[in-house]
């Protein structure tokens, strides 16, 4: 153990008082049973709400975790998740189109913190939509929710969320991923800013979750093609006067060491960002790639969830 900063002034800045010892309590309301199927040849149809029962304490935010299927194993897939509250048959969506990528071969759970407050006794519902890059059969996923008790939580919580940048295209062809397409056309040259979504947040947002992933169908590369490098930026402001709030974000896509074409797909990142944005603020993304000869792999889609 290294205890750095002991006795120095800045140690005080990071001291946290959680109060009395509290036994942490986690609830996996969605048990790990397969219950979600997706359409794997086109952008899927949203499935019915899956009732996860009522919360037994106030949730000061929750972790949303996606986990792979049991066997058989399937190839790369993209998925999105909606969360709702309310009685069965009158669900009210509180989080929409929260997207994940699931690259093939080896990937554990992916998780994101959702800073939404949910009162005790609230019935929770989950529904999924997904597509895969193959035409193989349906598969199952396990969205799991873990509510955080106030006495365990350091987070601010919010009461609204809005997802912008989501594509509504019907099938997973180029540019029809789950987000807004940013496509470099000149090697190692930053694209112009692309607005994420046509609409801006309609209320003040305090916390963002920035997702970016590879797009559409078949972003495979072969042994002779990679690695591909990517830099991306996120900006805010009006057209022509954008200010970057994330610079030099980095992704890399590599080939298969087996020497064959492979589903070597980049992971959708879910980058948390505590950042205040007044209602109406436009959000933008731009990126550059070290290759422009493989359109499906060189481009990315972006989507952003704001909480306020």
């Amino acid at each position: 153990m290294i205890e750095y900063g002991k006795g120095r002034h800045w140690d005080q800045a990071s001291s946290i008082d959680l109060g009395v010892s509290v036994s942490p309590e986690y609830r996996a309301l969605s048990t790990p049973t397969s219950h979600v199927n997706g359409n794997n040849t086109a952008r899927g149809t949203k499935l019915a709400w899956y009732d996860n029962g009522a919360t037994t304490y106030d949730w000061h935010g929750f972790t949303l975790m996606f986990q792979n299927s049991w066997e058989p194993f399937f190839e790369d897939r993209k998925m999105s998740c909606d969360i709702a509250i309310g009685a069965v048959g009158s669900e009210q969506q509180i989080l929409g189109e929260f997207c994940f990528d699931q690259p093939s071969h080896s990937r554990g759970s992916q998780e994101a913190f959702i800073p939404l407050f949910i009162p005790k006794g609230t019935t929770l519902h989950v529904r999924m939509m997904m597509y895969s890059n193959t035409t193989s059969g349906a598969f199952s996923m396990r969205p799991t929710l873990f509510g955080w008790r106030q006495d365990m939580c350091h987070h601010k919580v919010y009461f609204r969320s809005e997802t912008i940048g989501i594509s509504t295209q019907a099938s997973p062809v180029l540019g029809n991923g789950y987000g807004t397409l940013v496509q470099p056309t000149i090697v190692d040259t930053m694209t112009p800013w692309v607005q994420i979504g046509e609409n801006t947040f309609d209320y003040h947002t305090w916390y963002l979750n920035i997702g970016q992933g590879f797009i559409g169908i078949d972003p495979r590369i072969t042994a002779s093609a990679g690695p591909y490098n990517f830099l991306y930026e996120i900006g805010v402001g009006e057209s022509g006067s954008q200010v970057a709030i994330i610079e030099d974000g980095y992704l890399n896509l590599q080939d298969s060491a087996t020497g064959t074409s492979d589903w070597n797909v980049g992971t959708q990142q879910m980058q948390p960002l505590q950042h205040y944005l007044p209602a109406g603020t436009k959000i933008w993304a731009r990126m550059q790639s070290s290759v422009i000869s493989h359109v499906a792999a060189q481009s990315k889609d972006f989507r952003i969830v704001g909480f306020g």
């Binding site: 986990q67 080896s106 490098n229 948390p272």
Partner: protein, 311 residues
Amino acid sequence: MADWALTDHAIYEALNPGDAVNSRPTNSYTFRGTSASQEWNEFVATTTKDYHGLWLQCPLGRDSGAASSPGGSYFFNLGFGSAGNEVDVYMGHLIHSNSNRLGDGGTHIPLYIPAGTRLTLRPQLKGTATIAGIFLQVFGVTNGFHAHKSFSRHYRMGTDGHSDHFGNGDPVNYSHALGTRITLPTGGSQDLGAAPWHEIEDFCLFDTKYVIPVGHMCRTSNDIESAEGPANSGRSYWFQLGIGDKGDEQPITPLMHHQIFLSSSWTGEYVSSHPGQPCYIARGQRVVARAITSNADVGDNNMTIWAHCFG
């Protein structure tokens, strides 16, 4: 009065500046095998702001046109201090890349780093090879990062008395030096109730308020042998942490899942992602872990578990 606060902006500051000519960060790093000296690399000469956390992007990238980064287990420590006087402050961030897998996605490290710090990185690699030209990015998150509090202490729980500097470990069976090896129920049992709790720490060293549990899947000797399962199929591993005296253990983290892919041509070790989470473990608590797998092969029913603890 406006109902917003202009100070509530968290700024992400890339600590490895971008190289616009090559679409990747400027500085690359050399990962040396555990038999070689592990030198510190200066990441930032002097931080100019207080950082309330770090955001890691570790795809194990390499230059376009170069060979892809070989499959393997890469890890690094972060340190503070002047040249020759570096001190580890975050140890053993393991990134696994088999022949068909990218490295990490994003990981939040809730460490407080004051302005004026010389931030260094010490990369290491399982085995004896030296792999140069690996790119990664680290963001300093500043000006308030309220979604996660920041802390000033870190230790790797469950290391079973082994060094945090892996150079002292067995370069082949190095997993033993990473954490606590536990044996999972055999026969592909997925009955969590039948999975015993294994102690990974008999005495938590300080009040822990944030943990990043990590699970490493491998055979007793080395790689999971893909040929032992049907080609192009998956095997699942689940694990969680708990606290409590023997016979009275209680889970404290979600059941975290990792799936591996089996084919006729690939073998490998696998490490879970890094699902950091707020979690209060009082100083002195006994900490345990349990795990299950769908892998029915006896040789493959092992996991090595540890947790990055912050407080």
